[in-house]
Symmetry: C2
């Protein structure tokens, strides 16, 4: 039995005229819920509000907060996926004015990732699918995710815990469902997401906590060569925390001390698998 | 009262776990229905099948054909929008294997476009939203349409019947909800859609009928300068047929003879508004 809510009430269906279905016209959040508590909630609400502003979708963060808290209490432990769409529309791309956004909340169990991923690191699949460069949509966790669907379809072998995604110009951007960091000469770097990619809340949290811990951080363009030359590499998201990256094709990175330190710095946010 | 079907039966809702809602993981078609007859149906089924193949969504064209015919008979006259999603999925981008696609059919009245658009031509809004270059998705009428939503949001003034969309490199690609053609020295040209854009069925039909009528046609990259230098320009889609383009910002094109000839060539497919 799965817990699913629409606009704050238990429901299993979305109206067929919802613009989320028609155009992917909306945003989403994947929220780790531990002991009825949604982790990193304030960051998520900030990101949702910023995304709504860019897409010109009306947003009521306090109402969303209340709904997520109530849903998390009902879920207890697991993952709460929030989908926020622009709501119903008539035929045609023009957004209705005003529009009445719709929220979906979908519960699922906490994912059971192998413990070794966090402890010993993972291997990345080199995705052939490239991310298109679209500054108007970059950074947002919007519902237009066919690139990720295509990229994730490229491999079935569980030896690859994640896939590496690059942009059309070859720059390193992110994992299919995570952000990527590298450590070069003691500096913590993560790709700029001004052209494409999703600005994850765990990425933001790591950047902030690292800085507070006195680690030099840098958000910048990252070439494939820079990735290979890095001393340490890791991927992160809100569900598993940090996984060291050990291998991409024939290239091998060590599991270094700064990655371990950062894992400890966010230990309170990890899923505890 | 609107006619809406899900998987061949009257229904008003889509299950919340549908991947159309989650990721825009699917395709759509906007079908003009006249006297219970869906126009250009074979072309549409071909395009759907090609799109499904590229996205690796199972497709049963004969079953789709039967559903569309049955829906069109119930609708009588108007527009049938078909949405084909990959169906339900669990959390995560990886497509379920096998997946069970879902079809939505949404009926609406025939649009009432002003007669003058076809007779005297239209003015284009110069959209600032650019189309990202993504060959893996180019040409398909998929459900990731935030670029079109943003572009269509740029103007409210009904003086602009359509908006012009260019790609990140500045090339002319299409209208927000139509394809674009230009005529230069007697040659009918339309932009290549290898990097972005939607390959419309009316565009394909016009290319084929023009060739059959002995008109030279060319699918090629089109610069903004080439557009301005063209002798005639028009936009087209399956609902309104062909609208001559008369103005973009300060630039004015004449309503030329080849555009009129092509309007006559597709007169059997126009909406008759």
């Amino acid at each position: 039995m799965t817990l699913t809510w629409v606009d704050g009430y238990p429901a299993a269906g979305v109206p067929v005229h919802d613009r989320g279905v028609a155009y992917g016209d909306g945003l989403f959040e994947t929220i780790r819920v531990v002991d009825q508590r949604p982790l990193l909630l304030s960051r998520r609400l900030q990101r949702l509000e910023a995304g709504c502003q860019r897409l010109d979708i009306p947003c009521q963060p306090e109402q969303l907060r209340a709904q997520i808290l109530e849903f998390s209490a009902a879920l207890g432990d697991g993952v709460a996926k929030l989908i926020l769409t622009r709501g119903d529309g008539q035929r045609g791309y023009a957004p209705p004015r005003p529009s009445s956004p719709r929220t979906l909340l979908l519960g699922s169990p906490a994912p059971a990732y192998p413990r070794e991923h966090a402890e010993r690191g993972v291997q990345l699949y080199p995705c052939a699918t490239r991310l298109a460069e679209q500054p108007a949509l970059a950074g947002m966790k919007h519902l237009n995710r066919l690139e990720q669907v295509l990229a994730r379809s490229e491999w079935q072998d569980p030896a690859f815990a994640e896939g590496l995604m690059r942009d059309m110009s070859g720059r390193v951007i992110e994992g299919v469902y995570s952000n990527i960091f590298l450590i070069s000469k003691g500096v913590l770097q993560t790709p700029s997401l001004e052209r494409c990619g999703i600005a994850g809340v765990m990425r933001a949290e790591i950047l902030e906590r690292a800085q507070r811990a006195g680690i030099a951080v840098e958000v910048c363009d990252v070439s494939f060569e820079a990735l290979l030359a890095a001393d340490e590499v890791f991927v992160c998201n809100s569900l598993y925390g940090i996984w060291p990256v050990r291998q991409l094709k024939s290239h091998v990175w060590p599991l270094g001390p700064l990655t371990r330190k950062l894992q400890n710095l966010i230990a309170d946010l990890s899923s505890g698998t």
